[in-house]
């Protein structure tokens, strides 16, 4: 029996997953820009260098493309690399390897070569990060056949999903929201897997479904609490956890039950994952829908730096509240005084 009542942070859970997998399997190693510096990728890998040495955890030259290729080569030759990026925007430098090599190598070898490569990357809003330090890009990665893409939200999920990703024989991109690093929750001390491709009901409800990715689960959760208090509305939040392969069933079952669907994606709306989910819901449960699918996400602009515009760019719990009210034809409620971007007070979810 796994004891669940131990509370640790998301970033500690990352380090624990890595440490346990590296202990279990000597072929696992970590590398990337500044990976072995004193900050240890925002505190997510403390203690690993000391335990395993520089052969299994090392900083690299600033050569994202080559180092993604190095990961592919090491993976097909029997190692299990974990390539770490402090910002997803930097993965664009490695896009040739991801899109032309990593994603199709197993296919192109007629199935003879396996690519057990994990790519960890931090995404999301920080503090005036601007348009080159804030991208998520899950839709871009998931658009390419051959890549698995996950966006774990809770400390429990990141540990189990990261372990599952390392043990997977395919390339997996793990997108970790920076603000989630402080989130604390119950995490078993033992290693365990949360299967890729399985979503979860983040909050149970019956009146409306919100399909939320990454940090949007936190915003949706807060919105759900406000809506419940103000209108007695029971919001069901579905966290797909894995963008590809997508757990369609868990989304469709929820929408069939509630008849209403909002997709709150942590990314640009245009050509994004939110459009994919909206299409899926309308194709597969059109007759159960009582209102059109609504999408919440980023406007089609680069991400601004100044806080005033950042607050417009990023949707939050309040925009979700208003969307739900509009959809269900409810009178707008009086919103709580607390600032919407309360992540600055280190959000502690009931996870």
């Amino acid at each position: 029996m796994m004891k669940k009542n131990r509370i640790i942070s998301y970033s500690t859970a990352i380090g624990e997953a890595l440490q346990q997998e590296m202990e279990r399997d000597s072929s696992v190693f970590l590398y990337g820009l500044d990976v072995a510096d004193h900050k240890r990728t925002s505190g997510s890998t403390f203690g690993i260098l000391e335990q395993f040495g520089s052969e299994r955890m090392f900083s690299t030259p600033l050569s994202e493309e080559a180092l993604m290729g190095v990961g592919l080569g090491a993976a097909i030759a029997g190692l299990r690399p974990v390539n770490i990026h402090i910002r997803s925007d930097f993965l664009l430098l490695a896009m040739n390897q991801l899109g032309n090599m990593v994603s199709s190598y197993h296919y192109g070898s007629g199935g003879k070569l396996k690519v057990p490569l994990v790519i960890r990357s931090i995404i999301g809003r920080g503090w005036g990060q601007g348009f080159q330090h804030s991208k998520s890009m899950q839709s871009i990665f998931a658009h390419i056949p051959g890549l698995k893409v996950v966006m774990p939200v809770t400390p429990y999920d990141i540990k189990g999903i990261l372990i599952a990703a390392i043990r997977d024989e395919n390339p997996v991109i793990v997108l970790e929201h920076r603000q989630l690093y402080w989130v604390e929750g119950e995490v078993p001390a033992e290693p365990y897997e949360v299967p890729l491709g399985k979503g979860k009901i983040f909050r149970k409800g019956k009146d409306i479904t919100i399909v939320a990715t990454s940090w949007m689960n936190v915003e949706a959760f807060k919105a759900a609490e406000i809506l419940e208090a103000a209108h007695g509305i029971q919001v069901e939040i579905i966290d797909p956890r894995t963008i590809y392969p997508l757990d369609e069933k868990i989304i469709l079952q929820s929408v069939e039950k509630t008849g209403h669907c909002i997709v709150a994606d942590y990314d640009w709306l245009f050509c994004g994952f939110s459009a994919e989910v909206a299409a899926l819901v309308q194709e597969k449960c059109f007759k159960k829908l009582q209102s059109p699918v609504v999408r919440i996400g980023f406007p089609h602009t680069p991400c601004p730096t100044t806080r005033q515009l950042e607050n417009v760019f990023y949707p939050d719990s309040l925009s979700i509240v208003r969307s739900v009210e509009k959809k269900l034809e409810l009178k707008p409620c009086v919103l709580p005084k607390e600032a919407p971007n309360s992540w600055e007070h280190k959000f502690r979810g009931p996870f």
Binding site: A66, G69, V70, L72, A74, I76, A77, Y107, G110, G111
Partner: protein
Amino acid sequence: MVKHAVTKETSRKLYRQLYLIRTAENAIRAHYGENEMKMPMHMSIGAEAIAAGVCHALGERGQVFCTYRSHATYLAKTEETDDYFAELYGKVSGIARGKAGSMHLSSPEHGFLGASAIVASTIPVAVGVALACKRKKTKNMAAVFFGDGAIDEGVFWESWNIACLMKLPILFICEDNRLAVHTSGEERHGYRSIVNVLKQFTGNVFESRTTDVEEISAITKKAMRGYAEQEKPAFLRLHYYRYLEHVGVNEDFDQGYRSQKEFIQWQKRDPVLLQRKRLLGLGITEDAIKKEEGVTDKQIAESIERAKKAKFPDQKELFTNVFYEAR
């Protein structure tokens, strides 16, 4: 021509490979017009000695990567033609059941780990294999073949830097035909000598204009010793002449971007004929050589016959091997 440093049997083996490559390429040329090999072909004619020489020196421990122009290296590494031609005909019996084709050959069981149609893109992957060889202490050595156009790409420099920095067991094999598609080096290079530039890194650098397969093998062995003794990766600039057009099975001297005179100069030192001459010099008779050539001719003809008769992949094959799934 270098002084004879290998056994007569090795000379014969190398000639057999050169002849296999040349003849298989000529067979593609002969059959391409039938329009059954429905894919672009980047022909290796002229480059045979580099493929055979480097692969011979590396032996079974060589883990090689190539470009879209990799027929020669595939055949030097595997000497098999059944799966090869089936792949070119897009048949289910091919290397990757027809899904890879001429530009994406592979045979991991023979140490041929893949080829890519994106210039320079296999270079870092080979560096990753070299890293794994070093970590696992396998004594294997990676080798990556690329054209001189790859040096224009940033990832070449990233990869050479990493290989030198991390002291990895890898050979960078630059098959330099002076052209990137149709554009000459003079039109692309803002430096005087690539060899001198690369020598500023800690790896070893070699250069040769030979077409002699045994000399190429000897240079490769020297580069391998450099790693065994000093942990130095190596860059080998090996010049050759591309006999045919960039893509396709024809000559293109009438197109004006290069002169046939140059070709004629190189053809005098044709790598296949050069090695054949060597065999005669070693006392192997014309009849004996012809007999061996006949065996290769038959192998190729039969493989093509089998490929033509083979089935195309089933429609469901489209969806297999996108992801690895434990069976």
